[in-house]
Amino acid sequence: MVAFVLVASACGRDPKVTYARLLERAASWSASVQFTAEMARARYVPRAFVHDVLSTSVNALATIRRQIQDDRDVDARSRTQTADLCWRLAALVEEADRARALPDDRALRDIEIRLRAAAQAARGLVPLETPW
């Protein structure tokens, strides 16, 4: 029974889904930074929390970017493009954090849309308009 579960799970690990999840996680961080900025503008969250979110997201995006680059199941061109998007996102956030300012929402949103479109493509779905 245990062997069956393990074999089934080994067969079930779809590399496209793994790659798509990485891109969605990166897009999720972009959305989180935008949400935090929105709450900061409304003065609902303290400055220290904004810094925490920005610095955590930079580290998380660096990890995701490394995982994308190491993913040999995906073609090199896609990997390079999406890793570059992660890098640009992290750079935007890091710059804002250093300047103790809020990052540009439009730039974040633009990268988020591209990451989600890439994720949809990886899953083999027709790219859809994101709901937000």
Binding site: A8, R13, S28, W29
Partner: protein, 405 residues
């Protein structure tokens, strides 16, 4: 009347440890953010299982004046009992480490200062509460302070969800995307709710409070009310995440992504209430787990035990939680993410579950312990179902963690 109110306190404290700690809040946020209401059924199933288990162990304590660990060691012998004992000690240590990390994380979110700075004073504070406090004082303060978590319920109500949508989530349904991750979160939610420590803690608490057979009906009510409180708040966490995070495409992989979610329905107070809820939930769970560790070690070896006694009256009991707290600080001092530690802890919790729940089937039908109050048909059927659920979860936990994490 006052005694019945304190019994409710034990139910609430136990449910805080099960439903409102760092793991349950974290998985609830992820479940709501990714799958909206479709995992609410897992919380309902977890609640029903835990309510049955706590009612049984409360009944055991009230009638026999003995705890689950007493009865299992007495009935099954040490060579068998060593397995659930060993498993539960390991689980309690890992989960305690997560809870301390979660409490420190709440302060990091609020102040921006790293958890590595907060972990020492928080651990010391928890040790002081255990060293100087009594079971009653700890139970009542955690139960009262735990009411702050009702802010999630208020937030859910203010967001005006489509209640028919919410109701549909109370039944299992096939997800539209990523069924593996959906299954993993279901297992994680169930693992976080049906924790072996709830079972042993509740029975020890009932003995501490000197319950008698007159308390059997209050025990039944308290088990369901207490777990009902916890599960209501846990479901509110999922609902709020579904309405605030999901539309924004935020997955809540870390607490930083979710900490501002109460600000949408509750405005300026939202963020503070989130941090307070996380802190109090984690401290309550940490107190419960530290005590549970001491309870299970002392009861296994037959030492004198009781949080209502002074440390000088039960040195080994008091030093067990002291040493445990010192050990479990280390992961947070090393900077390990509490949420990652939590997800790992939940997988091993699920593996330990059949070892703790299985023997309960035998104990709860033993007339020498329970006299005329052994399990009826319904409760026996419930225990069998819970043991089956526990085995299934144990089989699925590790493969799903690998696939879904």
């Amino acid at each position: 009347m006052v005694k019945n109110l304190t019994k409710v306190g034990l139910g609430i404290v136990t449910s805080v440890g099960g439903f409102l700690e760092v793991g349950s809040i974290g998985t609830g946020l992820q479940a709501g953010a990714t799958y909206r209401f479709s995992l609410l059924w897992a919380i309902v199933v977890g609640t029903i299982c835990v309510a049955f288990l706590t009612e049984m162990t409360g009944r055991l304590a009230a009638v026999s004046k003995h705890t689950v660990v007493d009865a299992v060691r007495g009935r099954f012998g040490f060579p068998f009992h060593a397995w659930p004992f060993g498993a539960q000690v390991i689980v309690d240590l890992f989960v305690l480490a997560s809870e301390l990390g979660g409490a420190a994380l709440a302060w990091q979110l609020a102040t921006g200062i790293s958890i590595r700075v907060w972990i020492l004073p928080i651990t010391f504070g928890i040790w002081l509460l255990l060293w100087y406090g009594t079971f009653d004082s700890i139970e009542q303060s955690v139960a009262l302070l735990g009411l702050v978590t009702l802010s999630f319920a208020v937030a859910a109500w203010r967001l005006h969800p489509d209640w028919s949508d919410v109701a549909r989530g109370l039944l299992p349904q096939r997800p539209q995307t990523d069924p593996t991750q959906h299954a993993y979160l279901a297992v994680a939610i169930l693992g976080a709710s049906i924790s072996p420590s709830l079972v042993t803690f509740y029975s020890s608490g009932a003995v501490e409070e000197k319950w008698t057979p007159k308390d059997l009906l209050p025990n039944r009510i308290v088990a369901w009310i207490g777990m009902g409180f916890g599960s209501t708040v846990a479901m509110a966490v999922v609902i709020v995440a579904a309405l605030v995070l999901a539309p924004r495409g935020i997955h809540a992989d870390s607490y930083q992504q979710a900490a501002a979610l109460l600000s949408v329905p509750l405005g300026r107070w939202g963020f503070t209430l989130f941090c307070a809820s996380l802190f109090i939930g984690c401290v309550g769970a940490a107190l419960e787990l530290a005590l549970d560790l001491s309870y299970i070690v002392a009861q296994t070896f037959g030492w004198d035990w009781g949080e209502n006694k002074r440390p000088i009256e039960e040195a080994r009991f008091a030093l067990t939680y002291t040493i445990a707290l010192a050990l479990v600080m280390v992961p947070s001092l090393l900077g390990i993410d509490p949420l990652k530690l939590t997800m790992f802890s939940m997988a091993i919790t699920v593996l330990a579950l059949p070892l703790v729940v299985g023997p309960l089937m035998v104990v709860m039908n033993d007339k020498q312990y329970l006299k005329a109050h052994t399990n009826g048909f319904v409760t026996n059927a419930a225990v069998i179902a819970i043991v089956v659920v526990a085995f299934v979860l144990a089989m699925l936990a590790l493969p799903l963690q690998w696939l879904g994490a």
